[in-house]
Symmetry: C2
């Protein structure tokens, strides 16, 4: 059986921002990301889960260097949606496992989450694609996480972050 996971990647100069309690209606995500795009702010992960009581929150990660300009953009946006709030944290690391074989093996995500848990690492964000699972964790735990995942998935050397 091919190895489900062929690489582990770490990006530890990240920050996360959340705009909470925006209306859950068409056009809101477009407004937020158009404003960020016009200000040339490069966003990494965009994560929005299920709405509650008609409002929703959108979380995204970006380079630490872009945090201040992004905050200025979001503060303008928040004025448009009364009740919305902005939160951020600039001590984030993104750790990812990648591999084409993942799709057919349901236990891979569980193994990643369990490896992080066994090392006392809390998962702050989760985002997945067919061949990649990414978790945002505290920046201080980035290296410990990568080493633990390496061991758990029996990989030899740290692979260069792949384009996935």
């Amino acid at each position: 059986r091919e190895k489900a996971v062929t690489g582990v990647a770490l990006a530890d100069e990240q920050a996360k921002m959340v705009i909470r309690d925006v209306p859950d209606k068409p056009g809101v995500a477009a407004t937020i990301f158009s404003a960020l795009g016009e200000n040339k702010i490069n966003v990494d992960m965009i994560i929005q889960a299920t709405q509650k009581d008609g409002t929703n929150s959108i979380t995204f990660t970006l380079d630490q260097d872009d945090l201040k300009p992004a905050l200025r953009v979001l503060e303008e946006i928040a004025k448009m949606y009364s009740g919305s709030k902005i939160e951020y944290n600039d001590q984030i690391a993104k750790v990812s496992i990648v591999g084409v074989g993942m799709i057919s093996q349901p236990g891979v995500a569980a193994k990643m989450f369990k490896t992080l848990a066994d090392n006392g690492i809390n998962i702050e964000l989760i985002s997945t694609s067919e061949i990649k699972i990414s978790c945002a964790i505290a920046k201080a735990q980035g290296v410990k996480a990568v080493n633990a995942l390496h061991k758990a998935f029996e990989l030899d050397t740290v692979r260069q972050p792949q384009l996935v």
Copy 2:
């Protein structure tokens, strides 16, 4: 300049499930996905955004056919975490845009969100990787969404869903 987006994909036999208000501490995600894995339930997207007041919610998508077995698993899990609740919706479509050129162009996500908004389509979930942006929307709007995105990103034919 290369086309940022080279394909649009649609999966419209999906369901989404949410386990709300679980403790935001290490081990919880591992418990949930180990149980799903042991029951051979294949999960597609896993989305967890930022916690609030020490609790968090985890949303995931899966084939409609797996909804009932997954519900049985989650109901057992929910007993372990008092205050947690399960919600689901089996009328979901996942629409994705893919393309290697996206990474360097911040406006691509905004354009996708705006195209959906202009067609009156509400975005229920968002999940991204470096070369793919996926949105969960109402199943009934799946085909309209794919056609609108096709036109917006000037693509000729619908590409087969890519492994990204």
